[in-house]
Symmetry: D3
Amino acid sequence: MSTREDGRADNELRPIKFTRGFTSHPAGSVLVEFGNTRVMCTASVTEGVPSWRRGSGLGWLTAEYSMLPAATHERNKRESVRGKIGGRTHEISRLVGRSLRACIDLAALGENTVAIDCDVLQADGGTRTAAITGAYVALADAVTWLGAAGKLNDPQPLSCVIAAISVGVVDGRVRLDLPYEEDSRAEVDMNVVATDAGTLVEVQGTGEGATFPRRTLDAMLDVATAGIEQLVEAQREALAAPYPGVLPAASK
Amino acid sequence: MSTREDGRADNELRPIKFTRGFTSHPAGSVLVEFGNTRVMCTASVTEGVPSWRRGSGLGWLTAEYSMLPAATHERNKRESVRGKIGGRTHEISRLVGRSLRACIDLAALGENTVAIDCDVLQADGGTRTAAITGAYVALADAVTWLGAAGKLNDPQPLSCVIAAISVGVVDGRVRLDLPYEEDSRAEVDMNVVATDAGTLVEVQGTGEGATFPRRTLDAMLDVATAGIEQLVEAQREALAAPYPGVLPAASK
Amino acid sequence: MSTREDGRADNELRPIKFTRGFTSHPAGSVLVEFGNTRVMCTASVTEGVPSWRRGSGLGWLTAEYSMLPAATHERNKRESVRGKIGGRTHEISRLVGRSLRACIDLAALGENTVAIDCDVLQADGGTRTAAITGAYVALADAVTWLGAAGKLNDPQPLSCVIAAISVGVVDGRVRLDLPYEEDSRAEVDMNVVATDAGTLVEVQGTGEGATFPRRTLDAMLDVATAGIEQLVEAQREALAAPYPGVLPAASK
Amino acid sequence: MSTREDGRADNELRPIKFTRGFTSHPAGSVLVEFGNTRVMCTASVTEGVPSWRRGSGLGWLTAEYSMLPAATHERNKRESVRGKIGGRTHEISRLVGRSLRACIDLAALGENTVAIDCDVLQADGGTRTAAITGAYVALADAVTWLGAAGKLNDPQPLSCVIAAISVGVVDGRVRLDLPYEEDSRAEVDMNVVATDAGTLVEVQGTGEGATFPRRTLDAMLDVATAGIEQLVEAQREALAAPYPGVLPAASK
Amino acid sequence: MSTREDGRADNELRPIKFTRGFTSHPAGSVLVEFGNTRVMCTASVTEGVPSWRRGSGLGWLTAEYSMLPAATHERNKRESVRGKIGGRTHEISRLVGRSLRACIDLAALGENTVAIDCDVLQADGGTRTAAITGAYVALADAVTWLGAAGKLNDPQPLSCVIAAISVGVVDGRVRLDLPYEEDSRAEVDMNVVATDAGTLVEVQGTGEGATFPRRTLDAMLDVATAGIEQLVEAQREALAAPYPGVLPAASK
Amino acid sequence: MSTREDGRADNELRPIKFTRGFTSHPAGSVLVEFGNTRVMCTASVTEGVPSWRRGSGLGWLTAEYSMLPAATHERNKRESVRGKIGGRTHEISRLVGRSLRACIDLAALGENTVAIDCDVLQADGGTRTAAITGAYVALADAVTWLGAAGKLNDPQPLSCVIAAISVGVVDGRVRLDLPYEEDSRAEVDMNVVATDAGTLVEVQGTGEGATFPRRTLDAMLDVATAGIEQLVEAQREALAAPYPGVLPAASK
């Protein structure tokens, strides 16, 4: 029977780890690890919202994803040095933002902005799904911080938990949480973002130089959904410990 | 019974129209219309391939999507004037390129590049799906041109037909081919790219400020798949007429 | 006797055609054709004026010219992708704006801006003169729209008709309205912008790798002036039909 | 009788001065003064030509025009800091290059490039015409330098002298060589580039918020042509003195 | 007696820590900590050198410094999003590169490039000196890697150890290794880069809104020099352990 | 005994010259010459301060340094054409600004900005030190202008004189004011900015591919300090003459 290079079963996640309070300036700061993929996810709170939203009474959440130059096998050129952001970076930044906005009541934030930053320290496949999953934990900490600071109109603005996982067809088999070695030769590649209730937030499936029948889509969704359940459990476990830094005194 | 503003049934496409030979310089040039959405899709052939591909013997296909400033209800600022391409433009350009590369045998092209340009003249929802569907027709014409010019290693490099359609949940109902008025208030929004064989190339579903159960995904895929069958028929019908311009004499 | 490749007399225009209401979102939208040169000219109305003009009570008119990538014989690179606008584009955009500002009373607009966009769908010489000539028609429609919307301080803010034509010396002969084939080998090249009253707005004559005597300038102006009279007639004829879309109800 | 603020007759040039050898690194370096307008014009020689011209055996000439930030009454922002070149700068750079290419036999240069730089130290109207007139003198010095270095295929590659002047309608009168005070309120503004033989290289006339009859164009050309004759005389006088620096020993 | 907020003596370093093998793709990867300042320093090896150096037989070393958005108290905007690199980033990147090039024999590298990346994860003053000090350790690891890969012309291309420290005048007292709280109100601020032999590589002293006598410079140098001795000891201790990853088999 | 190519003693300055009133639009305009190095330094006054400083009642001083393309032996590419400012330009602009802010009481300016521009017309080493030294003279003239215009809260906002000089180790000897020929092969290179009172503003010493002992630093500082004394004398002498232009009438 064909097995995966790292010994995992086809539907098995890599070891998942969250380090809350990874840095101390932002309201939420989490190092998330999906195997060798490591992403620093922070949630910074700033007063005010973008100009097109001012006066609405609603808050906002933005997200930026970036890869450090030495995160990949071959060093990649820094986008600030190139002077422009690549298409892939743009696409993932937008995905992270959309995904997290699905779980937060922006009215509860008042006119404050939460800026999510996902910086990949080490890449080994699945950086976007690790980023979303880790960013949720950072966001949960930022919400605790906002509550302590008396800046929330509603004590619990998070309506659900958000997690994401990759799934693909490799060597003709549906496999969960692809590392770089599998991702680079997958025939089909899918990223699924979902909630703790099992509802979907975003589904992106792509044939890589191939097309795929709908039953493959179904099989991939089955595996992804089960993986997300486990991720949500790991997120909840990580968030069970108290806030990892010093909370502000209420100022409102 | 709730009906759509334009009188269509929920699973009905808008009127679809292809004008081949819309302009005469590129090898393929098609004006595609999905209702009031009008996109000029061209396929230009240039000798040579990007530097990272040189010497491989393989061809390449790139795609760029863009919105003319006056295409939308409110004039949008020109990206060349801003000095950078927005995230949405990047994302759609990449999607169009990936989708069309799924149907073409790049080895058959030799070291030639086909550059697809999709410029939206008028936007009324579904511009990316119209772009992909029209670009396929332009690509088919460019392939005919390449064949006449004796530049193909294989007489039929297109392995399938590619079409794309949007589907969403509006007013709680699954609806096909959303115009702007529906798209802007859809609860769930999905774009499906598929082949004439019914296999999937790309599936992108997004909850807009909401999450959705898997059965909604299934219902949307059912409707989209049926829509794509009709699009493929329309593409075939459009391509039944002879090449709309002057073909080159073989030079190889 | 030497004749032109397309059979025209030296002082003859190519077939001229205006399609008003070419698209439906902007207040004015015209497809202009000078032979095979086809330019989509739109006039969009937005409230407000640039910051340096605010509080003056005066309106403003801006113009942007651009070439679609596949408009030329060889595909040209998209300026948004290069990240900067080329010198030629800048120069023509400025020319279009200056030319149209010569015919409009900006005080009559109040603090509103008309944004002219000239996007070349197919280029065969004379794109800038077609752009100016077509943009005048789009502007006239936008003025009708503004009047219907009750946004004009003066019911007729257009003081004259503006048209433009190219003229050059090819094969030693002064010729009107050069197509690409002639333009690319012209010894002298001139663009003339003038009014229905025969007065001049802009004259730009250039020796292409050659210099020219003043009597050549005079001969070129004679031919251009006669050509502009015919263009003005065609513009008037096109504008004789009613406004091609739905006019707004007055809101002022 | 209405006279000009600086006491000149309507058809009189401002004091013209050329300082050759203004700086010592470039092959040609001239400070040109048209009254208070002062432009540093340099002609630098570099081996090789742009890639699109390689292997042709022909040389090339490029030109760049720029305004120092403190050259104008109000300091203007540096284009390098803005990160892009404005439309006016682009337009003038192209004009300077085209004008000087009209007098030089590029075949005589071999595959060498002459880069003209015109940097305005102080602006008081007519900077583009001073730039062209001064750049010709710098180019003549660079040609002497190239000859001494044995790099010319033909000992005299300059076929004519090039000079340029502005002319306009101010207070209803046709006036030559407008300073800023007149230029800013001119009704019509024209720049003429011509040769010592009286033939024209470039004519650019613009109505500033007004249109003008053809007889005004004729009157302006009369005055400009006479002015250019005087400029050519001043250029010849300046070039009568020997090369102002150290010439290279022939190396070919 | 006035003491420092964190209880240190004026000439005392913050706790210094090096984590080698912090990530696994680059040849050298070190997390350096100066108190709460944490910088990820990597040294990546690529074949080839910049074009201006090709054919010289010499290697090259470049360096880039960057601050993650959430590294500071207030989130700072990402330079890739702004589209340009700020002056401070440029300045520090150049300083890091110059400093490390002082210790390495570029001829020994052959035509290979070492790219140093210093990404600040958390900033609390002294980020540039921590970056240099940590980058030396990453460089030493990369040199070990290069040696194992058989890519060195000389087995020991490092001629000295490089370390750097900040020193300043705060509250009228000369203090070593300033945290943000002291740095932001220092009257004089100096960065010293030196070797294990006590010789200087770079000295940059600045009065912040004040000037300072030469005896202050001398006092600051005394304190800095002693601090650097301790840093060098810490670097040596960190490097005493074996290479933290898998070394390549020699390939030359 | 080894002497310098230009015959100077090791501790001797090149001929220093200041031409005040070099151009007439800015409040201060000085051409400074250190031997063949020539920099045009202007100080322009504008109302208002950057947004982050508004409402503070304090003024601001900014500085920009730039090299004209033909200032160097080999023409260098214009930064406006590249679309970005290089690291060296950034670094020197920041140094000039910091240095001059050390001598001016920004409260005395009210909410006005002085913009310093240093444009190198000809480069022969020491451009940054010439820029600072010349810019001080331009600033002094701008302060006189501000006083005459009644815009100063304090009649004498300059607390000291600022000058700068380079010093280096060439051929094993400490030498003052290095021309390009020496600078390009110096083993150590230092720039010192100091006041007429002998206190230091900025010290930047760099080993160029070498390190240097502290006694070399001391010897360089001795030589630099003596040089600065002479520069200050030359600045005072230049400023002894009256303001070189027309002063404004007080308007406050």
